[in-house]
């Protein structure tokens, strides 16, 4: 177990190092360097940069300096937001993005699992066809289309929710729905397939035969086996939610990491953009690691490779 965790940590470090190196090379490949070519840079920031990044040093030395900074979580100053360190931007944006992501994913899981189980139990009935048609269509609709349609419907036509911003629970509902909906659709289909497979097995018949009510059969016996494909889908789903949150935060003007990232990209704030790439890599890797770990707990047949 410890060995497994350790090895994953080593791989994570390796991945982060690779991302860092690619980003560094890309940044340095901008003619004149990203810091000196900025015409609009104010002289104070310019001076700070030269002091911090040692731009007169040879490239390889700069690389190791930067690497040391990154390892010690000292990610430098933002080039566009005056008086903001990258760490401050992350501290401000990460909780917001995390809240949105967690709620969207929980929503996708709850809705997907419920409709999936209901469809499988009522196979071929109207409920099944109804849910599965929605799910089939839902998978293909990009989240920004869902977001804009829900804004038109529930903000302007039927004034239920505020259009944009952050701060109260009502700000959360539309973004979380738009972000989670495609994953809810996919999870519903996975759950349905998984349930149908499990429900036809002998131990379910036994459970039924000994007189357990349906919800007990589903909840105690069938669901555990049926959600395994869902759990393994969580990895890609988390990656998708991370990506999607950038778009959704943009539409709903939510001041999360995604908004900062796009602003940084549009305004060429290289330090912030590069650091956020590293943050996203760490997030994704950690989440995937947790998913793998939970898989070994859920399915007794899966042994942690040692």
């Amino acid at each position: 177990m410890t060995q497994f965790i350790l090895r994953r940590l080593v791989w994570m470090a390796l991945t982060l190092w690779a991302v860092f190196t690619i980003s560094f090379i890309l940044m340095k490949s901008v003619p004149g360097g990203p810091y000196s070519s900025e015409r609009a840079l104010s002289p104070e920031i310019q001076k700070n940069f030269e002091a911090r990044y040692g731009l007169d040093k040879p490239l390889i030395e700069q690389y190791f300096d930067q690497l040391t900074y990154a390892i010690t979580f000292d990610l430098g100053m933002s080039t566009r937001l005056k008086d903001f360190t990258v760490n401050e931007v992350i501290a401000q944006g990460l909780p917001i993005s995390a809240t949105l992501g967690v709620i969207a994913l929980s929503f996708a899981l709850i809705l997907g699992l419920t409709t999936g189980v209901l469809s499988a139990l009522g196979r071929g009935t109207f409920t099944d066809v109804f849910f599965m048609s929605i799910a089939t269509v839902g998978i293909a609709i990009p989240n920004f289309v869902i977001a804009s349609i829900t804004i038109i419907l529930f903000v302007f036509l039927w004034q239920l929710f505020p259009a944009a911003g952050w701060g109260s629970a009502s700000h959360l509902i539309l973004p979380a729905f738009a972000l989670g909906a495609p994953y809810a659709a996919y999870i519903a289909r996975l759950t349905r397939t998984g349930m149908l497979e499990v429900l036809s097995q002998d131990y379910i018949r036994t459970a039924r035969a000994k007189g357990l009510p349906t919800y007990q059969v589903v909840y105690r016996h069938a669901l555990q086996g049926a959600i395994l494909p869902v759990v393994s889908y969580l990895g890609p789903a988390i990656a998708g939610v991370l990506t999607g949150s950038v778009v959704i935060e943009r539409i709903f003007s939510i001041p999360g990491l995604g908004s900062h990232f796009i602003d940084a990209a549009l305004q060429r704030d290289y330090t912030l953009a590069m650091s956020l790439v590293l943050v996203y890599t760490t997030l994704l890797y950690t989440m995937n690691f947790l998913v793998d770990l939970s898989y070994t707990f859920l399915d007794p047949r899966v042994k942690i490779p040692s």
Binding site: P31, F144, S148, I152, F156, L266
Partner: protein, 385 residues
């Protein structure tokens, strides 16, 4: 059945040894027998099964139709996709067949024609110019009315949807092909070499798998937006869309590489590869002539499933203002225009709904076709209904 074909009892299959060669007439009989049966190749068989899958066939027809329309867009009587008419700003969908405004190209010639053409369609290549000329000959100045309304600058959304289709579909197709070439080559080499090299190459893929490429690509685009690089690209005639193809293709080859490697690993142990090697075929020949054609079916499935991902990626980037740049149009960009035009005063639903519908329908069709192909090409299904 050998017992029916061979008339000689001594070479019957029933426990007899092949101690002497059968007579010639037996061979002729065998050949005659064989001629009666027509071999069914895997692709024919798969096609037969695909044809029975109604959903997949509908998806395929839709995709072919939309591709043809996209290619022929300059030829079809749409309005100009870039002519701004601010007096018609945010005009809603029209229900007449033809627009009351003409194109104003038919009566012009020479420089005046060129100028008007440039105003209406921008700088186009020879093929598009030919199509536009053909359209002017055939339809004159007539245009379809704005069935899908007009945008902020009074441009016709219907025309923009179809010009956008050209960019969106092309990005999807070309980027998927780039990823196919990289993925198949990488996977084939890794699987064929095996051992240490395979191990290293696949660990490398593992590392790349956990890199969130969406963010790396945005970072790359940030770099490409640097003024110096931008002017360098313009001087050398490098199109932003071209970079797009390459960058996106460079991102999406990982799954393809894994799948191909797995297939090659099992294929390379089979007898026909051994046979190829005994007659002296080199590694390159074996990989490209014998192994890759055999993984082709699975590659096609993954290609159809990669295209929607790539298109969605392009839509995301264009939506965020980091992708295709005006005056080019793509579906993601159109959707972004629509979202920006949303306001409490008036709801311009057509700016959101139509681009979203086009994008969703195409992605949906591609997913369906991909699933259908996967079922149809499954070798375990061969010769079954």
């Amino acid at each position: 059945m050998p017992s029916e074909i061979n008339k000689e009892p001594s070479i019957n299959s029933k426990g007899a040894r092949w101690d002497r060669l059968p007579d010639t007439y037996n061979y002729e009989d065998l050949l005659g027998e064989a001629k009666k049966y027509k071999g069914v190749s895997l692709s024919q068989d798969a096609w037969k099964r695909l044809k029975k899958n109604k959903a997949a066939m509908a998806a395929l027809s839709f995709l072919i139709l939309i591709s043809i329309l996209a290619i022929l867009t300059p030829f079809l009587p749409f309005q100009s996709p870039r002519n701004t008419q601010t007096e018609l700003q945010f005009q809603g969908p029209q229900f007449s067949i033809l627009s009351d405004q003409g194109l104003g190209l038919a009566t012009l010639s020479g420089t005046a024609y060129e100028q008007r053409l440039d105003l209406l369609f921008g700088d186009k290549n020879a093929f598009d110019r030919m199509l536009i000329a053909g359209r002017v000959n055939l339809f004159g100045d007539a245009c379809f009315a704005s069935w899908c309304g007009r945008d902020e600058l009074g441009r016709d959304v219907l025309a923009r949807l179809f010009w956008g289709a050209r960019v969106s579909l092309l990005v999807g197709l070309v980027a998927a092909l780039v990823s196919l070439i990289i993925g198949v080559t990488y996977g084939a080499i890794s699987g064929y070499q095996g051992g240490m090299i395979d191990n290293l190459m696949m660990r490398f893929v593992d590392v790349l798998y956990s890199v969130p490429f969406f963010f790396v690509v945005i970072f790359i685009i940030t770099i490409l937006n640097a003024p110096d690089i931008k002017s360098f690209m313009i001087e050398n005639g490098i199109d932003r869309i071209l970079i797009f193809f390459l960058v996106i293709g460079l991102v999406y080859w990982l799954t393809m590489a894994r799948v191909v490697r797995g297939q090659i690993l099992s294929l390379k142990e089979q007898q026909f590869i051994e046979a190829a090697r005994t007659i002296g075929a080199g590694n390159t020949r074996i990989i490209f002539k014998h192994l890759i054609p055999n993984v082709f079916s699975i590659v096609i499935v993954y290609l159809t499933l990669t295209i929607p991902q790539v298109m969605l990626f392009e839509a995301f980037l264009s939506f965020l203002g980091l992708g295709v740049e005006p005056p080019d149009v793509s579906w993601g960009m159109l959707a972004n225009d629509g979202v920006r035009a949303i306001s409490p005063l008036k709801i311009y639903w057509w700016l959101v709904v139509y681009p979203g519908l086009m994008l969703a329908a195409t992605l949906f069709a591609l997913n369906f076709l991909g699933d259908g192909l996967r079922d149809a090409l499954d070798p375990r299904m061969k010769n079954r209904s």
